[in-house]
């Protein structure tokens, strides 16, 4: 179901216009206080925009003198905190949406069990929310939102409050359930955008400062925030011996949340700040090393981003001077396997 939104929210100084195509996942990136959550709240009907209109499919959500109540919108919202109903067990939490939609008790509980399986949490079915860890609760939150069969799924920093050890598995699960689903995910992590979204908008101080296909925005960010978060190194290929074999033949070692079968498509992701630059091939340690030619040097804050065809590295100004780096310099880029995340 496609979404069209234009809205101003005066007291948060938000003024945005964008759309989401049917089946598409849009990521909204931006610093804290950029107005990302306000935009989701306006779509969900929790906050009344001052002007503008929103449509989902053929239906007007607001605008043109219409105001549709949240429960009639079909826009399930999941925030940082799963907010599972404390008095209901996991199954009844997930069954809440179907039950509210008019299904019988047994039908809705059957649906709940299906969705719990979908998020790999069927074994939690009989627990109370107070017995769950943060990561488990958020899984149930996703299942509950999906069980309501929303026409548009809204995720407001769903992984921001989670322990970093459970984030990769959660991201993997979201990647699976968001495929072919119309969804908006608000995040400040470029990796979420890179792995989950087809398109990205970057918001800053209530305005959209950048929009486009995820790989374009992340590869060539034009806004300050975009540059700050983007530039993640993303190497895609197929799985081989637990690492990723890229089309140009290099093999990238890294860590993955779950074991991934050989020959599956996968990406290796790592931050430019974890990449070191050498003029000679480094020896000894079990690192990933890429031979490359410097294509550009860009100042980013106090550091310099060294760009090559595939991989970027962030180094200090002093290092640039020491190594006499300039476009055309042959370099060896190295990153520890423990700094590389591999996603199927």
């Amino acid at each position: 179901m496609s979404l069209y939104l234009e809205a101003t929210i005066a007291d948060r100084d938000v003024d945005v216009r964008f759309d989401v195509a049917d089946g598409e996942t849009l990521a909204i990136l931006g610093p804290n206080g950029a107005g990302k959550s306000s935009v989701l709240a306006a779509i969900a009907g929790i906050l009344r925009p001052d002007t503008g209109r929103g449509t989902l499919g053929d239906e007007v959500l607001f605008g043109d003198g219409v105001w549709k109540a949240p429960h009639l919108r079909g826009t399930a919202l999941l925030s940082q905190d799963a907010l599972l109903f404390p008095h209901l067990d996991v199954t009844d939490n997930v069954a809440f949406g179907p039950r509210s939609g008019g299904q019988s008790r047994s039908e809705s509980r059957a649906a709940a069990r299906r969705w719990l399986t979908e998020v790999d949490a069927w074994e939690l079915a009989d627990l109370k929310p107070s017995q769950l860890s943060g990561g488990q609760a958020q899984r149930i939150g996703v299942a509950r939102a999906l069980a309501a069969e929303p026409r548009l799924l809204l995720l407001d920093e769903p992984m921001a409050a989670l322990d970093i050890t459970v984030v990769p598995a959660m991201r993997q699960m979201l990647k699976r359930v968001l495929a072919d689903r119309t969804a908006i995910i608000v995040t400040h992590d470029a990796l979420d955008a890179a792995l989950l979204a087809d398109r990205v908008i970057v918001m800053d101080r209530g305005r959209i400062v950048e929009a486009g296909a995820t790989k374009d925005v992340l590869a060539r960010p034009r806004s300050q925030f975009g540059a700050h978060i983007a530039g993640l190194n993303l190497l895609s290929g197929v799985v081989e011996d637990g690492g990723v074999r890229t089309p140009d033949g290099s093999h990238v070692e890294g860590l993955s949340a779950d074991p991934i079968a050989d020959a599956r498509a996968a990406v290796a992701v790592f931050s430019p700040s974890s990449v070191s630059v050498y003029l000679e091939p480094p020896s000894g340690s079990p690192r990933n090393v890429f031979a490359a030619t410097v294509t550009a040097l860009e100042p980013i804050g106090a550091q310099v981003r060294v760009r090559t065809a595939e991989v970027s590295a962030d180094v200090t100004v002093a290092a640039v001077a020491d190594l006499k780096l300039m476009p055309g310099t042959r370099v060896y880029l190295s990153v520890k396997a423990s700094e590389v995340a591999i996603y199927a």
Partner: protein
């Protein structure tokens, strides 16, 4: 916080001030005839009338107090804080004044008296009047305790429920009320105990007819003149009921989270 030592002295005096009169009363109970005193016809009638009317009043407090607390906690409108103060007035009003106010509302010559007369009802000096008087003084307890619980719980769960497609009535039934259930239970227990102890408004508005409007507190007051031993025994019964009520409130509070 480290409590200054001297604080314990006035605190102990205060505690003694509350406990001592109860001990004094209990020490005057004639234990040999205790059960015959509290099971006399008039005592039993008064106790049963008290329990019956207090139960009905508590139900009315729930039926009226829950919507009132919802309106106060979940909406905003002009004059809301004034309305809140007015609703809480029976808490600070002398009950006898409340009784007079009720008399001029529901009495034969009262504001609604004629309307009620047309319906063929005589409210003043009937058991209905007892229930009205008790509900009048107990309702604010329900509203205060439930409004507090609603504000503490916040609207987050309700918002989530709405985005999952639940209609407002479904949200109220399946999310709001279960989440504030401990507050609701505490409010009901407080309302019940206030209704059970009600004296001033009852005697003013409902009078003291045995079996019709003479509740246990009224019975105690009358017995005090003719049979002080019976009055003391019945008082102890009310103390026991009050202690049970406090225990219930603490029980629901501790299981609140």
């Amino acid at each position: 916080m480290q409590v200054p030592r001297w604080v314990f002295i006035p605190a102990a005096v205060g505690a003694a001030f509350i406990v001592l009169p109860l001990v004094a009363m209990a020490s005057r109970v004639d234990w040999n005839s205790f059960f015959s005193l509290i099971s006399s016809d008039s005592s039993r009638t008064a106790l049963l009338l008290s329990l019956r009317t207090s139960a009905v009043s508590t139900v009315l407090c729930v039926l009226l107090g829950v919507p009132m607390a919802l309106v106060l906690a979940r909406t905003t409108f002009r004059g809301q804080s004034l309305l809140r103060s007015l609703v809480l007035l029976p808490l600070v009003l002398p009950p006898v004044v409340g009784g007079i106010a009720l008399l001029y509302t529901f009495g034969r010559k009262g504001l609604l008296g004629e309307t009620v007369d047309v319906l063929g009802l005589q409210i003043a000096f009937s058991t209905t009047a007892v229930v009205i008087a008790q509900t009048f003084v107990a309702l604010p307890f329900m509203v205060v305790s439930l409004e507090g619980a609603l504000r503490t719980a916040g609207e987050r769960y309700e918002v989530v429920a709405a985005t999952l497609g639940a209609r407002p009535t479904t949200v109220l039934r399946r999310v709001t009320l279960p989440v504030v259930l401990p507050g609701l239970a505490a409010g009901a227990v407080l309302s019940f105990s206030r209704a059970l102890g009600e004296f001033g408004a009852t005697i003013t508005f409902a009078g003291s007819l045995e079996g019709v409007t003479r509740t246990l507190p009224l019975e105690i007051y009358l017995q005090r003149e003719v049979d002080p031993d019976a009055a003391v025994a019945l008082s102890l019964v009310l103390v026991v009921v009050a202690v049970l009520v406090i225990g219930l409130v603490r029980g629901t509070r501790s299981s609140a989270l």
